[in-house]
Subunit: 166 residues, 2 copies
Amino acid sequence: MQENLNYKLKQVGIIKTPYQDDAPYQPIDVDDGEFCIVVNDQYVDGLNDLAKFRYIYVMYYAHRITREAEMIVSPPWAEGKRVGVFSSRSPLRPNPIGLSVVRVKSIVENRIYTSGLDVFDGTPLLDIKPYIKDLDSKTDANYGWVEEMDDMEHLILHIKGIPHNY
Amino acid sequence: MQENLNYKLKQVGIIKTPYQDDAPYQPIDVDDGEFCIVVNDQYVDGLNDLAKFRYIYVMYYAHRITREAEMIVSPPWAEGKRVGVFSSRSPLRPNPIGLSVVRVKSIVENRIYTSGLDVFDGTPLLDIKPYIKDLDSKTDANYGWVEEMDDMEHLILHIKGIPHNY
């Protein structure tokens, strides 16, 4: 089977965040800084009508990853639990493409101001898609393997991005 | 600004669907065929624990797209409405990477059986991510520009993938 697709990714824009050297593991619910997606000029018309959506998907290239992907990973907040990489949101995966759901605050020309984004400042933007009610908001979703952990309640604080100090 | 990222996509597997020449615009809620994601052998350990999630994200490369992306598109079910490409789920976008949320039915070795997937048979798989309660299920999501359409109720049937004949 073909291993490499003959296709190069285009950089559609850049993501600006307060995270120069440390990024949180998940989007933070509190707005402790400015999060802004800057779209390259030639793509700005593609943003028409986007501000009408409450949430959007942001797809980006995890450009700071230099190691090879491993099939078994241990999420840093999951206390040693080892899971398959496709059961995790680790950026260290065969294609290091990240995905976040964020709230749209405002769009001014080619700049989209959003709720917290758990990426490094300067991360290349690959795509934006509307997050559509019903199609994307599955009310019966679960927490997967996290539900089997002894300290599930604590881990869910991490998933929700709620600050806590224990 | 750098336009092409120096990175080639890896094919992680292949998606098998009943759609040889016609694919629906959105995932169909009814299970009118077999939908199966076949992961390449070297990635099979990455599927550990994935069956514990009710929903997963499937990321794929829309390999049948040959035209250049346009910034303004007209979704085929939206009766002439023209919107920015980033406000649509059109596969004709700067990076033709598709995203679907599907239900996991079962996983047998390297095969993931899922609910309906709106892609052509043979579509290259790029990534699978867990769809995690709270992180991804936004209960206050909206329909964006669709809410301004006269026949919103009808259009929502399309979004939900509910078959109808008017």
